[in-house]
Amino acid sequence: MTNNKSDEDQPFEKRLERALTDDNMHQALERFAPSWRASRATVFNAEEADYGPDYSFAHMSATLRKAKDYAIEHQAELIAQFKAQAEAAGAVIYEARTAVDANRYIYELCQRKGIELVVKSKTMVSEETELNPYLEARGIKAVETDLGEWVAQLAHERPSHMVMPIIHKTRQQVGAVLTESLGREISREDVAEQVAVIRIEHRKSFLNAGMGISGANALIAESGTVMMLTNEGNGRLVTSLPPVHVVMAGYDKLISTFAEAMTQLRLLARSATAQQITSYTTFITGPATAGKEMHIVLVDNGRSVMRDDPRFKDALRCIRCAACANICPPYQQVGGHAFGYIYSGAIGLVITPFLHGIEAGAGPQSLCVSCNACETVCPVEIPLPALILDVRHRTMEAKGLHWIKKLVFGAMAHPRLFGLCTRLVSIGQLPITWGGRYIRARNFGILGKLPVTRSLARLSGWRSLPAFATKPLRDRVKEADKAGTSAIKRSKSGRDQASPYRVCFFAGCMIDRLYPEMGEAAIAVLRACGVQVTFPRKQGCCGLIALNSGDRADCVTMARQTIRVLEQALVESKADYIIGATTSCVVTLTQDYIRLFEDLQQQEWLRRARALGAKVMDFTSFMDHVVLAGGGAALPIRGFNASPEMIVTYHDSCQSINCLGLRSEARHIIQDVLGLELREMPQSDVCCGFGGSTSIEHGDVSKRMMDNKLNNAESTGATVLVTDNPGCLMHLRGGVDASRRRVRVLHLAQLIAEQLE
């Protein structure tokens, strides 16, 4: 507990390994996440219910975003205003370009004043600049007075969370740290006693310290005021009692007015701790009392580089609420020390490379599962998932792409080569699959010992991998269309003659090559409703996998190919829509391409991507909002609740719920159209752990998330687990197969197809 000072300086892999064995932390974080989500929702909903839509999360977030954007755009002007006002009130402003500049200023101030003891309230910027070790190395004692920060300091650790510094510690561990540090027995069980210790221990420090150092939650330009939120009451003591008060704050803390500060206060308290307001919210303008000194150290340390970046300047809106960590599924598995550097959670992955260099962020960013949950709770609308992908891209450029990925993406960018490869693999896999649907660790036999196949055997141990289909969807569709019947059934009623809709089906690699039956089901369902479906033969990979690995070059190739092929298909088939039954690919086609071509400033491709994106829709939305909506086609099913023995539970795929905003659609179809029994699983909208290559690179993390999902699904007593994204389906099916669970895992399209007449 006190021996891991060096732990934080360990390479990422070591930190991760350590985190994965810390069961206390893992359990604490897993308990915390759902309760935080529930209380956060309650406290935001209450504000809206009491005061109307202007006080909704969405409205307040948009307001604060605008205010922060204004401050970022007009930084020079607001700094001038802030400085003028604060200096008029008696404060001294120092602008620090680097972390060392900031630390040195504070040290020299201590020297000048003969100060040997400093009390601190929470300031993340001082963690960022590593002020404490800087001062300690020069003989100045800095005491953290926030309870959690103090315990972390005594344990020689960094805080593992921006708001709750010792969320990774149990009460027993806290008791042990206090006992060892203070040299007297402190309860390992009684939290109240542990909390009482800090009041006694710190009282003398407050009264004797020559300097108090605080952070700032906002710098209000109109009056030169520092806003600070605390709950324990230490912040007001730190800023009031010692004769010198130093504020450390990043330039990103600037906002224009008190009115905006109120919006920030509402959002910050609710997002951070699900409080309506913190116990103490303090506004300090100049030295608090006559004869006192106030110094404000404005820290740049990489922020101006972010500000100059058209994408990353968005990250300067951050108010350090940690909501993006609280909701992050991999964070719940490994905690802040492994996941972040000093700023953890999604925002940590985004800003760490700017503050501490690209190398510092290289390992942690690989933990992101691209679930996009962070973006849904960010109170200043930072496009965190997209920025993480940008970081990944830059990391890849700096470090190069792994040779396997290079090989795979290179092949995927050439549709015919890729097609050939998958066909070859579908034959080459036979010694392992024995013609079955899975690559199972238990089927490897002696092959599991060979160097070439050993890693595959290890990968498929906890999650059986899907075998490549011997006949991809494209072939099956072609044959069925030629035969006019068979595998892909046409509607018996022949309603397709009267169809109001024509669509092109975009399969995506997984459905085409691994799960053609899912594509067949989707096409069968569409046709049963009278929709005319064509399958553009030239379609290939949309590029999502390359993009998620930071490989923009191959993604661009695949994006252009896909746009070209689908544009042509729309013209030839006179289709109204392009329908995909893979929500991940749909998000790439409708959102990622646009951002990609915006970044590359390829205006013509951007225009084409936008035009195409407007025509693309996911299967679930198309069925619910278009085909079955308001007096549209009826689904020719065997009967309402024709399978009364079937109990369905629904997993919200991340791309479906977080990117496309789907929630009611599938549930409506399952319950109200098919008449099946649906039982909600706990945390249905939390990532299943697939996360593309994350499940290969960080199998331990991925498996834990998968186990949670399958346990939650089983807890409902469901016989069928349904979702609408093949990535999740692959992951969950493989997990069910490897652990020999009994629940069936189906694509929504398959569930519907089973119920057709």
């Binding site: 008029a88 510094p165 969320i167 510690k169 939290v191 007001r236 009115a259 103490y280 300090i284 303008t285």
Partner: protein, 121 residues
């Protein structure tokens, strides 16, 4: 025994303290403390029970209303207030296992007394 607040050391852990609020905010149940003098301020920081008197006619509905007052009080000038605090309930922490514990550095109890017009007379 009632006495005027003095140095922080003399106020520390006094069983009770009394001070006046500039404003009270209905939305959050907060009081706004606006004393420039350290002696008056430490009453709200170091005593065990803090009583606050707030005038009914200084009760505003929302934080947004309070923002206007903050703006006025922080404005440069001879009557500028340097240290304004919304105080909402007692001092608290949930740092250890997210167990809510009341009374860390600040008061363990906060008692707000709203004084109506008749009380003024």
């Amino acid at each position: 025994m009632i006495r005027e607040a003095g140095s922080p050391a003399s106020v520390a852990d006094a069983p009770a303290g009394l001070s006046g609020a500039e404003l009270a905010i209905a939305e959050t149940g907060s009081v706004l403390l606006a004393e420039n003098a350290l002696e008056a301020r430490v009453v709200s920081m170091l005593t065990l029970t803090h009583f606050v008197l707030a005038r009914e006619d200084r009760l505003v509905p929302m934080l947004d209303d309070a923002a206007l007052i903050l703006q006025q009080l922080s404005r440069a000038g001879s009557d500028q207030r340097h240290y304004l605090s919304f105080v909402t309930g007692p001092s608290r922490t949930a740092d250890i296992e997210r167990t809510l514990t009341i009374g860390v550095q600040g008061p363990k109890t906060l008692c707000v007394i709203i004084v109506g017009d008749e009380g003024e007379a």
